[in-house]
Symmetry: C2
Subunit: 314 residues, 2 copies
Amino acid sequence: VESVRKGGLRVNLVGQAQALEQELARLRYTFRENHSEPLGITDTPEFLAMEESPSAILREKPRASVRLACELVAQGKAGAVVSAGHSGALMIAGKHLLGTLPGVDRPAIATPLPSRRGVCLLLDSGANVDCKPGYLLQFARMGRIYARVVLGCESPRVALLSNGSEPGKGNELIRQVYPLMERQIEGFIGNLEPGDLFRGRADVIVCDGFVGNMVLKTAEATGSQLRRYFRDAGGRSPLSWIGTRLMGNMFFQMLRHTDRSEIGGSMLLGLKGVAVVAHGSSNARAMRNAIEMAQRCAASNLMEALDEAFAGEV
Amino acid sequence: VESVRKGGLRVNLVGQAQALEQELARLRYTFRENHSEPLGITDTPEFLAMEESPSAILREKPRASVRLACELVAQGKAGAVVSAGHSGALMIAGKHLLGTLPGVDRPAIATPLPSRRGVCLLLDSGANVDCKPGYLLQFARMGRIYARVVLGCESPRVALLSNGSEPGKGNELIRQVYPLMERQIEGFIGNLEPGDLFRGRADVIVCDGFVGNMVLKTAEATGSQLRRYFRDAGGRSPLSWIGTRLMGNMFFQMLRHTDRSEIGGSMLLGLKGVAVVAHGSSNARAMRNAIEMAQRCAASNLMEALDEAFAGEV
């Protein structure tokens, strides 16, 4: 609703119409009586619960909301799809209904991270738990294009996420892909340690989806542990109570600065269409950021640039 | 010096005597004139710099400080070795001079992490970047014994670190080892997500050394990013300046609570002797914690319990 009211976007809500209408009424949203109505509803009773196997959407649930939303993009009726549901299901629906870019073996989840110099892109942050060196090379190339087109970074620096910055560091996968990156990836600057993750030393950080997911979730867990400690500490002494009140806003501002939901969602990079996955615990603000990020990607020439870059390969 | 003065321990400093004596003079440490002198110095000019290959200590540097320190333990002249230098070099020196426990293929770095219910043990946190399922089973068994003997946990709960808590989650290694853990490891509770890392749901958390190292370093990087932000924010407005002062101590207390250096060092578990690696950026407090942790391990029957548990295997 905020994206429509304040962001001026057109949004189609795909899901159980009755529940959506109730929620819209609660937000005092009134539909206009003409063709310029920016908010639409596509009714479907089916959806995929978090504990279900994502592949269920292919056979058992042909009208799952995530499928219908991808179909709208495939049919050109929507510019992008955004989901805060099961990211695996969005990936499967995206592959099935939008297709994978020619020359890309595996689409990756590309997550913008807050860094000292703005934003850097971490990929794969969860789609492919087991990767071959060739996948990581493709992630690097897609990431560079995203950084250039969407983040406005003229010559993106690409790094491999590893346990040390020296060339020989890393597990077998990283050691195998390192020399290939050196030869094939423009702007490759070598290995990057997690200690430098937020220091703005690289614009695109490449890793397999298992490691990327662990790193993201660890950063989130550390942040929320500190937040909890802060909240609990406010009750301990009168001085720290006053301190917490005075600091309160600043502290939450700080957490916001270090919270990726403020930046938007993660793009499923490698699909033939814009698909953005938002965090499952997103609030309205995070959803609006994800929707606006999807809009920015759809309005840019990201898809054309990716198409062009990989076209030579096929 | 604090470990000697306040902790009542006997400490032998292995390194360049002249540099050590200068430092001791700066700290106004005066040697006693009798046999009860608790602080000794073993002079050696050789040491391994961080950028050198750790295997250099085997041939080129037979008198490297880390080697001599391990020799003192091997000869029974010291109960434990503590190093804040190159952890790889301590591992190699430990394997070479102390030996690996029979039945253990690869010693692991076992790092105590602060958690809501006290402390949990993460291993391997950096020694073995490429692991076979059998290694992880051994890590789990060694970790359980450590948790029981050193952390005083009666029936330790063991978990695999994975990208999701459901049984099928994880990369190939985790999926392979999961059913083996179910059959062979007492107290196995399944997969644990990084989101639950600090929630005290498990006492022993098992992963390969690449992932463990990434997770540890990410948690540290997130913590220090928040600290930096907090420090910078103090100068922004009069109210937040006052807030920062009032909160200051509490905030550093919070960081201390979430800072593993406060807990001590990481044990190289699987060697025939107590070897503890402290963080390279340790301050005096962190070093004292690491030294006291090493003393606790040496004074416990950890080595006997490990020996006994793995003796049946060989």
